[in-house]
């Protein structure tokens, strides 16, 4: 098993880098868009709430593979995408996977961000308002530090699910870890050692995501209580 890994090391490295790029960019973009969606939800307008609820419901109920296929294969059916500048975006498999992963994570992250926002102590906000804090200062000093730390355990779970979804992107000819494994299985016909190498790589990537978040959470969450 080690010999297969060492002889094909450049390809495995390329696959690991592609996976890491996909996961990091979609995690950051997803988190930012989730924060935007949650602040939109706080406005309490019924139309915006209904739109966001339908978006969340659609993304929660359909499989990720289906979302990926709709964005990659389905977008080429429309004339206005095919013959404009958008064609370059939707033809490239990497950008389609990035869009689909960002939509997926932002939906799940908005759900538990909104739950965490509702679970903050309302008294703190009342006291801050009575002391004369502006809304921007309340957000910056009281709400968001608490929320971002409270969310870290759930968010590390979400990152693992993101990584599992990014492995599905290999079915659209992206050469991430799963794609490279399938390529090398086709070359060497040694299925079980290659799949075990892929499993070990995924376990190491899991630890890479979890340990920093766990360290930050353990360092800061006692300040909240």
């Amino acid at each position: 098993m080690l010999s297969i890994f060492l002889t094909n090391f450049p390809q495995f490295l390329q696959g690991i880098l592609t996976t890491l790029e996909l996961v990091f960019t979609s995690a950051i973009l997803g988190l930012l868009s989730a924060i935007c969606l949650v602040t939109l939800k706080q406005i309490h307008s019924t139309i915006i709430n209904k739109i966001i609820e339908t978006y969340l419901f659609i993304i929660r109920s359909t499989p990720f593979l289906l979302q990926l296929y709709i964005i990659y294969y389905g977008s080429m059916q429309f004339h206005f995408i095919n013959h404009s500048f958008l064609a370059d975006i939707f033809k490239s498999a990497y950008l389609c996977a990035l869009i689909a992963l960002t939509l997926n994570t932002s939906a799940y992250t908005t759900i538990f961000l909104s739950h965490t926002l509702n679970s903050i102590n309302k008294k703190e906000i009342l006291v801050a308002k009575s002391l004369g804090f502006s809304q921007w200062q309340i957000n910056k000093c009281i709400i968001w530090p608490q929320v971002l730390i409270k969310i870290l355990p759930i968010y590390s779970n979400e990152l693992i699910m993101l990584m599992k979804c990014a492995a599905i992107a290999s079915s659209i000819t992206i050469l991430d870890v799963m794609g490279v494994t399938q390529q090398i299985i086709g070359l060497t016909y040694q299925t079980i050692p290659c799949l075990m190498i892929a499993g070990i790589i995924y376990l190491i990537l899991n630890m890479l995501f979890n340990l920093p978040l766990k360290y930050i959470y353990n360092k800061h969450h006692l300040k909240l209580t």
């Binding site: 499989p63 990584m163 995924y202």
Partner: protein
């Protein structure tokens, strides 16, 4: 072109059947795995490691792995392998790993007093299980198990990559024939939406009407 839509509808039966069957087998395996994991003997850490592995590795990797091993074993006996059965096996493994954690969490949230009281009343283990532990574990674990059904409904789409003729495959074939992939994939998405909506309504109904732990709440 109406016939492609009916093909996708007929293929939805395969999707529903593989997810329901893998939930049933997976729950049975998962309760067994939960019992094995809660045991604090020296050998039981293997089951903890197994469950952690299956939970953290991507589902597509587990499906490919189990499919390859299943094919290898069956070709030694000269039987043709079936993507339905290998998908069923791998999905049941995944369900068992997740549901064992749900059962352990539900068992740990029963108040400890109940088991002490049962002990002091000299009820034997079968009676405590049947009247005290099982209803409360069901009461606490049902929302999470319905969530898991939603997750497995969506994971069953990955089994189409092995060759199962489910909705994704039917939509793929239909889109290759007529060059309108969006219509058929959107129709498959609509069927998934309807199935998920039904499960979410069941979840809401259980939240309002659960009589499982009423006496012991």
């Amino acid at each position: 072109m109406l016939s492609f839509y009916t093909t996708i509808l007929k293929a939805s039966i395969v999707t529903v059947s593989i997810s329901l069957l893998s939930m049933i087998f997976g729950l049975l395996l998962g309760s067994l795995l939960a019992l094995l994991e809660m045991n604090k003997s020296k050998i039981s850490y293997i089951f903890n490691i197994f469950s952690a592995l299956v939970r953290s590795l991507p589902d597509i990797l587990i499906i490919f792995f189990v499919d390859y091993i299943f094919q290898e074993i069956l070709t030694k006996f000269h039987i043709n392998s079936n993507p339905f059965i290998s998908g069923l096996l791998s999905l049941s493994l995944i369900v068992s790993a997740f549901s064992s954690q749900i059962f352990i969490a539900a068992y740990n949230s029963i108040p400890k007093n109940h088991i002490h009281i049962a002990n002091s009343m000299k009820l034997n283990k079968l009676t405590t299980f049947k009247h005290i532990i099982a209803p409360q574990v069901l009461h606490f674990s049902l929302p999470a198990l319905l969530n898991l059904t939603l997750v497995i409904l969506k994971d069953s789409s990955i089994v189409s990559l092995i060759g199962l003729n489910d909705m994704m495959n039917a939509a793929h074939i239909a889109s290759a024939d007529t060059f309108n992939p969006f219509n058929y994939y959107a129709f498959a998405a609509l069927i998934y939406l309807i199935m998920s909506w039904i499960i979410i309504q069941i979840q809401k109904w259980f939240k309002v009407n659960d009589k499982c732990g009423e006496l012991y709440a």
